[in-house]
Symmetry: none
Subunit: 218 residues, 2 copies
DNA sequence: CGGCGTCCTCAGCGCCCTCTCAGCCTCGAT
DNA sequence: ATCGAGGCTGAGAGGGCGCTGAGGACGCCG
C-alpha cells in the first residue's frame, strides 16, 4: 500500500512517515500544496493524507483540483481548526474523511484503514504517469490528452507497467502477469509488444534496461 | 434544514438523530414504512434518510409511492445488501443516492450534504446519455426525442449499459446481470442483442472493445 | 388452430489480433 | 576493432473473436 502524506510541518510529517512505515505502508511526503497535487496526480498512491494549511495551495484546493481532473484517490484531511464549517468545507471539496488536530495516531490509523478498505470513492482510479493516463474501467488511454487506440494485449501490458512507474520490470515478470502464466510463449512476444506500444505512446516513454527488463519513464 | 430519518433499528436511529442534530439539522425519526411515508408527505422536510428493510412497507415502496404522488424530496437510501441489483433497484424507484451498511458516518454526512446542495430532483429519475434517454419507471426509450421500441431484453441491456456510460462492460458481466446469473446461456446471445440494439439506437453509439466488452459512447 | 412476437441457438464468415520466425541492429566486454 | 549476446522489427500464418441471417421453441392472442 502506497501512501502520500502532504504536510508542511516537517516534524509531524516525519513522525507520520515513520509511524506509517512501521505499519507496512510505503510513504512519500510532500511539503507544499503544488508538490502534493503533482505527486497525487502521477503517483499511483492508494490514499492521501492531506493537511489543510499548506504553502502554495490549500488542502481544499488540492482535493478540488484532483476531483476536477477525475482522480478518485481516497483523501483523509487534517486540520487544526475544528469549527463545523471547516469540516463541511473539506467534505464538500471531495475529501473522504476528516480529522482535526490534535488527533490520536491510533484514530488516524483506524480511519485510514477504513478508507483503504472502502477503496477509491465511486469511480475506479485513473492511472497517470507523465502525460499518459490509463482508465481501467473505460479502457481508455490518452497521451497528452489525445486518445490512443490499443489492442487488448497492448492495454494489459501498459496497465501493468503503469502500476509500477519508474521501476524496472523484467521480461519474465511481464510474461507471468500480462500473458498467461504457464503458457510457454516465447519471451520474444514481450519485445514485440513493447515495440508496438512504443510506436503508440512514444518511443522515449518506455526504456530498455539491458539484461534486466523495461522501465516506464516518469 | 429539516431531515426525516426512517429507520427501525432504534439504536441506529437514535445515533443518527444525535449526530445529525449536532451538525445543526432538525431531525425527526419514523420507525415504520407507513409512518415514514406519512411524515414525508406532510412534513416539509429538506431530505430523507430511508432504510430499505422496514416493517409495514419497504423503503423501495416508500420512495415509489412518494414519487408517484409527485413528491420530489431528496432521498438517501440505506441498505444492508450490497448487490448491484439492489442498488439499481433503489435508484430505479426514485432514490437519489444510496449507501450500503455498514457505512461511515462521515460518508453519510458528505453524501447528505451533496444531496442538499443539489436540491430536490427536478424530474423523476431518467437516465440520459447523449441524445438517448431511458425512463426506468415508464419503460420508455427515446433517441433524439423520437421514441424507440425495445423488447424487454433489449431494454434491460440498454438499461444496464446506460448506468455505466463510457465504461467498458464485459460480456460475462452482462450475462450475469441482464440475463439470469447461473443460466448457462451461450455468450453469443449478448452479441446477438447488441446487434439488435445497434439497429435501433444507432450503430455508432455502442462500441465494441475487442477482447474486453462493449462501451456506450458518451 | 394459426398468426405473431420474443428469445435464443447455431453455423458460417470475415477480419483483426496475436504470436512466431528470421534477420538485422545495438551495446558492452575484451 | 571484433565478437557475441541481447534486443528490435517486418512479414506473415493462424486462429480467436465478433457479427449476422436463418430458424426452432415457446407463449400469447384472436
Amino acid at each position: 500500500m502506497r501512501l502520500l502524506v502532504v504536510e508542511d510541518e516537517s516534524r509531524l510529517a516525519a513522525a507520520l512517515q515513520r509511524g506509517l512505515q512501521a505499519e507496512g505502508f510505503a510513504v512519500d511526503v510532500a511539503a507544499t500544496g503544488p508538490a502534493g497535487l503533482d505527486a497525487a496526480r502521477h503517483g499511483g498512491y492508494d490514499a492521501m493524507i492531506l493537511d489543510v494549511m499548506l504553502p502554495g495551495l490549500s488542502g481544499y484546493e488540492v482535493v478540488r483540483r484532483l476531483r476536477a481532473e477525475e482522480h478518485w484517490l481516497p483523501v483523509l484531511m487534517l486540520s487544526a481548526k475544528d469549527g463545523e464549517y471547516d469540516q463541511a468545507d473539506g467534505l464538500d471539496c471531495g475529501a473522504d474523511d476528516y480529522l482535526t488536530k490534535p488527533f490520536s495516531y491510533v484514530v488516524l490509523l483506524a480511519r485510514l484503514r477504513a478508507l483503504l478498505r472502502r477503496g477509491a470513492p465511486e469511480r475506479p482510479t485513473v492511472l497517470a504517469v507523465g502525460d499518459l493516463t490509463l482508465d481501467p474501467a473505460r479502457r481508455r488511454v490518452t497521451r497528452a490528452d489525445a486518445e490512443v487506440d490499443l489492442t487488448a494485449r497492448e492495454f494489459a501490458l501498459l496497465d501493468y507497467l503503469m502500476r509500477r512507474p519508474g521501476e524496472v520490470v523484467s521480461k519474465t515478470e511481464l510474461l507471468d502477469h500480462v500473458w498467461d502464466a504457464g503458457m510457454d510463449t516465447a519471451p520474444n512476444v514481450v519485445e514485440v509488444y513493447v515495440g508496438y506500444l512504443r510506436r503508440k505512446i512514444g518511443r522515449e516513454r518506455l526504456e530498455t534496461v539491458r539484461g534486466a527488463g523495461y522501465r516506464l519513464a516518469t
